[in-house]
Symmetry: C2
Subunit: 329 residues, 2 copies
């Protein structure tokens, strides 16, 4: 296929995804009319080939991840997605086929998550591909759920299942671990799918706004992100590993190799929600999460202390992980 | 200097630039409360080392350019800057000194342009540095000035002086042209300064909202951007080169080498405003621009036609430039 120029690329692949205020991406900016009585919530996350994804991952999966990691932040803040600006730094060897697949993934992501494409930029850069997304959502005025506001005594909950993507990343890599052999094909596919395709918990946003005291999405592993959430205020946490929600596939990996627990807790890419809730609000939060169809499990409590959060297993053994146990940076 | 981790970098260099809704950049998202009765205006432009700037340009100049090219889009749309999200893809050899200089440039830009830092992301990428900025501004509801809405008969105006940065880029390069010798040190410095430091025309935004029919900023050269503005609707333009506003330095370069005119018209990086105005509104626009302290010159007229805009010189000779005569892409 001949390569179109930048305007041609935009018209062919991105304009069909544009929102009402974006005028088919033919202008240098888009307008967005916020809902009456709403605050906007803004977040930006970039993903880099070879760092956050494999260069030969399917392009539609890469697009869904680029959107999904940002929508996950919005969901954790209690926000409803409105729109996105996507900046692509393309290496010299980009192909139109790749871009067509990427645009298809954006379309899938927009349908699943909500919101429209509002703009972006396409530049050439002689390095790995860099995909930067700014996501804009809205909450009722003053309603954004903060990260740092958990209090001692709050209960800690997580959505979905923890650690699947981290195991999926190992399976996707060029040298899968020995325990990979203990998993069947369906398990492997399910775990790699979790690595490729974040499922941001948008459906949980209203319940978080109503009942959570603090929330964040889990992108760098539960252990590190929990430490981040409680940092610097004399707060720690006790986590009961028996309450940790695991998928069947992750459970089987853990049975094959107990050391997988560290991967589950520190591996990253969960894109589940970690939240703190006052004890008296826990039942209401769990009930609303259930009504929204989002599994939510209570896994521990915020405690007073300056040590890293403790993770206690069935035998009573306690493990702690330093802050920043995982970082994409 | 030891390299801090990502959180340390953010706390040290970027948190002091954060706006009121950004909570010291300690959360994964920021809130923004739009003004009553306002629309938001959103734009994203990235700059890449070796493409949009020289890798050894001063880091504070690079930061001012990254912000400035985005603010220039807001100004052309009639918008007042509110905030920015900045995504940095850092190559392996980044230094904290560089980052300190970059943050200082961001501070200078924020002071000059208005608005606060709302968030962003810092990632590692083994390639040239990529700096992506999303800028958010506001206009009274429905007030964004569009790019594609000029009508036949409208007068065409440009702010400031045209072509300085394009000449500055030649002077900044490793093999300056022969005519560079005809310029004194002050001229060279002034022209390179225009290349390094866009001066987005924020002061013109209210007058554009009130009187312009269409506007865009000139980033890829007057000739190409004018063609872009008029594309696809049976519209062309006649430009009188004698009316083109030139700086003294650019005029002296042109005297030394008449071929410099092509550079002035197609070289890019002006970050001036190109606007179309109904003939009956021209005087009001010029008067308000003068009151705002922004030089604005009427250089031609939108005409019916499908040819590229014509540029007529003092001898009556007409030159046309194809669309896309310049592209950073």
């Amino acid at each position: 296929m001949a390569r179109p120029d930048e305007d041609g690329l935009i018209a062919r692949y991105f304009a069909p995804l544009a929102g009402p205020g974006a005028d088919g991406l033919r202008d240098d900016a888009a307008t967005l009319t916020p809902g009456a009585g709403c605050d906007l919530v803004l977040t930006a996350d970039a993903i880099v080939a070879g760092v956050h994804y494999f260069p030969d991952d399917p392009p539609d999966s890469i697009a869904r991840k680029a959107l999904g990691v940002n929508v996950s932040d919005l969901a954790a803040k209690g926000a409803t997605p409105l729109g996105y600006l996507v900046t692509l730094a393309l290496p010299d060897d980009w192909t139109e086929e790749w871009l067509a697949g990427f645009a298809a993934g954006l379309r899938t992501g927009l349908s699943a998550f909500g919101g429209h494409l509002l703009g972006g930029d396409t530049v050439r850069a002689a390095g790995p591909m860099v995909i930067g997304v700014t996501a804009i959502g809205e909450v009722p005025r003053g309603g954004m759920v903060r990260r740092m506001t958990a209090r001692i005594g709050d209960r800690l909950c997580v959505s979905g299942t923890i650690g699947d993507a981290a195991v999926g990343l190992h399976l996707r890599g060029s040298s899968p671990p020995a325990w990979a052999g203990a998993l069947g094909g369906a398990d492997r596919d399910a775990l790699i799918d979790r690595y490729w395709h974040p499922r941001p918990r948008i459906a949980l946003a209203p319940a978080l706004r109503r009942h959570a005291r603090a929330a964040m999405d889990i992108s760098d592993g539960l252990a590190g992100d929990l430490a981040k959430m409680l940092k610097g205020e004399g707060r720690s946490a006790e986590i009961d590993l028996q309450a940790l929600p695991l998928s069947g596939a992750a459970g089987r990996a853990l049975t094959a190799a107990p050391g997988v627990m560290t991967t589950l807790l520190t591996g990253g890419d969960d894109y589940e929600i970690l939240c703190a809730v006052a004890p008296e609000s826990l039942d209401a939060l769990l009930a609303e999460a259930a009504m929204a169809g989002v599994p939510l499990a209570c896994i521990g409590t915020v405690t007073a202390g300056t040590e890293a959060p403790s993770f206690r297993d069935a035998s009573g053994q306690v493990q702690r992980f330093g802050a920043g146990s995982f970082s994409h940076f």
